[in-house]
Amino acid sequence: MARTSREALVSMMTDIHRGRINRREFLERTIALGVSSGAAMALLEACGGSSGASSSGPITLTLWDYFQTAGKGYLSVIDAFMKANPNIKIQRTSIPFADLKQKIIQGAASKQLPDIVVIDNPDHSAFSSMGILADITSEVSAWGQSDEYFPGPWKSTTWQGKNYGVPNNSNCLALYYNKDMFKAAGVTAPTTWDELHSTARKLTKNGVYGFSMSLVKSEEGTFQFLPFLWQAGADLSTLDSPSGVSALQYLVSFVKEGLLSPECLNWTQQDAITQFIAQKAAMCMNGPWNLPATQQGAKFSWGVVPLPQGQQPASILGGENWAITVTSSHVKEAWSFVQFSQVLTQLRNYIVQDDRLPSRKDLASDPAFQQDPNIAVFVRSLQTARPRAYGPNYPKISNAVQQAFQSAISGQLSASAALNQASQTIAPLLS
């Protein structure tokens, strides 16, 4: 990677935001809630969004994203658009990732939403179903490029057969492994559940855990758990089926046998990769946003392989989508910006420069993503990466899933009892 270390740090920072790792941004609203929940509710009303654009003369499009330290590639897309369209100005506001959802709620309350928003893809269908995003089905079909996208990212932007956005970039999970430890133990990188289990057993010794991952009680934990469920051939609608139970039981056995630290219940994804970098864990399930950190921190040779498969291979899709709000009075101009950002030369420049993964098939085959073998693994994993497109109740559903895996792994309930309880909560929410 021919980038200076500072750039790597900057892009890592943005990725930390995206990966829900940095919780410091919570401080502001934390204080508001800590002092009084009422004050938080008031903030909701009191703080407006950025002002809407006026229709006379040059047009200003307002844009909200959560790139506190925006990558050069991203900014150059915006600049290039303004150069190509001198009558349109883009006014960008960056909001910390942890606050974006809240800020959108505030914007809806004060009717001051921006024209364009960047949305974390699991939240997209919830926002679509609440009616805050513009239906751009006709624009998208006139554009005719939907087939160029991977099905997972694309599905996250649709709701009830209509289009509410366009995928911009993606991420997914894969398995980091410590090549030195593998060599010493005489094992190769696992490709199946059985191999992952036996490899972890061989590598667990002298205070080193074979495997690390986050199973924290937040969306991060759900993000890490769902691939196992899918690999087992189950889904949220069949959570307490035998295959669903086998997925959770598989993870419980890792903790019971001491291959995965029970601390995983309290580890964020950042904590999990820290264990790997500190050589406290031989393998780690994590995303591409931690590649720069591992590159810099790891004092050993390491690599990335796709997640080992159960009944079938599966990874999980994260990433960012563009969406236009329903309150925008410049849907046409906003759409032209979204279209502009997806022109291959623009998009390639952005994704490569800012260390993202493409959501488009035609871009994924670009040699830029094959040069670095680790990035290539993540790009390949996108093929089997599924979105969390479970409709407007997803936040509640995710909460029930977190309770299930936490109570089974902490030993309070058996895997089947925990999943049974969760599926009763989830069933009416999956509509």
Binding site: L33, S36, M41, Q102, I105, F127, G207, V216, K217
Partner: protein, 320 residues
């Protein structure tokens, strides 16, 4: 007396009384309105930043408020449905219990340790000023920072607490401070006690220093020993200070959000999900601002009950 002079003098006296009354009226006006003018800025501030949010919160709690309804502006009134949703949620009931346990345990230990330290620092010992300053660090440190440090210290595998306990031979297997559902609430309580001690100590110390030294001298002359002096002078005279410290402590502790959020996020499962965390999850993670407000109103009522009880206690004291 001549009639005209009488009339004249009466007129004159009437005039003076009129003038006097006018002056009086002006005086009365400034006496009546003036104080209110002085109150105006504070009142406006209270209305904008205290009353308005509270009223908004109460209104939201009886309406169906989510992103969709906020956007259309058509927010339906749904009566007590939010309260029913919240009260029938077992997670809310458990969060109420967790909050009361958390608040109760923190208050007992913060107050008693704070009191002992206040008694210690009330003595003229070398380096007392320095020690007092150092203890305030716990209060000054941002809670996100102290919460993160506690999280590290309480790690099962690599935390210093388990390391110390095991090297001293007190325990033989690591304690899962942050992941054993039965222990985690106590881990968070320990952290919060540490944070709350300086607050308790400094207020109680101020109270101790307000007790006239002459009382102790008199008791000493009468032959009262140290324990009796504490029991019959210090404790009764510290009553009102203690009540206010406990009362403020209750409000602060019931509202603790950040520490729990940083240390456990409410987990494992719901073991440490206190009420503010529950309200936050409902309002901002599940987008249900109505139910989130209902939780906030319930917390508000709970605090109101405690405040009224406090006022009742102090009123009795004033009469006595």
């Amino acid at each position: 007396m001549h009639l005209s002079t009488i009339v004249q003098s009466e007129q004159a006296s009437e005039m003076t009384t009129a003038a006097r009354q006018k002056g009086k009226r002006r005086q009365r006006f400034s006496k009546r309105i003036g104080p209110y003018l002085f109150l105006l800025p504070a009142t406006l501030f209270m209305l904008m930043f205290l009353l308005y949010p509270v009223i908004t919160m109460i209104l939201y709690s009886v309406e169906q408020v989510n992103l969709g309804t906020l956007l259309t502006g058509n927010i339906p009134f749904i009566g007590l449905a939010n309260y029913r949703t919240v009260l029938s949620d077992p997670v809310f009931i458990s969060s109420l219990g967790t909050s009361l346990l958390f608040t109760g345990a923190c208050l007992v230990f913060q107050f008693s340790i704070g009191f002992l330290l206040a008694l210690l620092f009330n003595k003229r010992l070398p380096l007392v000023g320095l020690m007092r300053g150092l203890i305030m660090v716990a209060w000054v440190l941002p809670i996100v920072v102290s919460g993160t440090i506690f999280k590290w210290m309480f790690q099962s595998d690599s935390g210093i607490i388990n390391y110390l306990l095991m090297s001293l031979g007190i325990i033989h297997a690591p304690i899962h401070w942050l992941i054993n559902a039965n222990i985690t609430i106590w881990t968070v309580i320990i952290a919060n006690i540490w944070i709350g001690i300086p607050f308790n100590m400094s207020l109680l110390l101020a109270g101790l220093q307000g007790i006239p030294a002459t009382l102790y001298e008199a008791a000493l002359l009468d032959g009262a020993n140290g324990f009796n002096r504490f029991l019959y002078i210090t404790l009764p005279l510290m009553r009102s200070t203690s009540l206010i410290v406990l009362m403020l402590g209750f409000i602060y502790t019931l509202n603790v959000f950040d520490l729990v959020y940083v240390m456990t996020g409410g987990g494992p499962v719901n073991a440490t999900e206190v009420m503010p965390l529950y309200a936050y999850n409902v309002a901002f993670e599940q987008f249900n601002l109505g139910s989130g407000s209902a939780v906030a109103v319930l917390m508000f009522l709970l605090l109101l009950v405690v405040s009224v009880f406090y006022l009742f206690l102090t009123r009795k004291e004033e009469v006595a």
